[in-house]
Symmetry: C2
């Protein structure tokens, strides 16, 4: 299990609309092959900065399968207009014993 | 409840020692006032980049209480020698309904 962290800077003032767009897009993630959950984190220090975190079975479930899916197109159509810059995407895995 | 994300770049080659140091420092976090859990995430794309995530009741439990504590001094003594640069610290909170 890995976690995608997409750091997203949005246009200041569009926080409410962006959060509503993400909520609307959640089903596309949750229905995706290999997706185990999603969260949206907002920065305290930089309120227009968010991190979308998505748990995937493998990196490829995100970078290959999901990115080629209609769900991804729907997600970007909903949330993309609020992006101030291209999201910075990275994958991480926990190294602590559960 | 908020989450501290400390992004930590370590000296390449010291991954094993750094992870052991964090494991050794875990009790200092878990014993801290207002701490609700810790994880250590390693980047897939940048293997010398980690994110220490700590759940706190409030930002101040981290920035005021913990940073003034002996536990913080112990943590930095254990992990600090492996840091390649100063950690980048930010606090986030989930905006999705549970």
């Amino acid at each position: 299990m890995i976690t995608e962290i997409a750091q997203i800077e949005i246009h200041p003032g569009q926080e409410k609309e962006f959060e509503a767009a993400v909520a609307k897009a959640l089903p596309f993630f949750l229905a995706a092959d290999g997706c185990d959950g999603v969260d949206l984190l907002r920065s305290v220090e930089h309120p227009s900065r968010y991190r979308l975190t998505v748990r995937w079975e493998t990196v490829e479930h995100h970078t290959v399968t999901f990115r080629a899916s209609e769900g991804f197109a729907h997600w970007r159509a909903l949330a993309g207009p609020h992006f101030a810059t291209a999201p910075q995407v990275e994958h991480v895995h926990s190294v602590l014993a559960p």
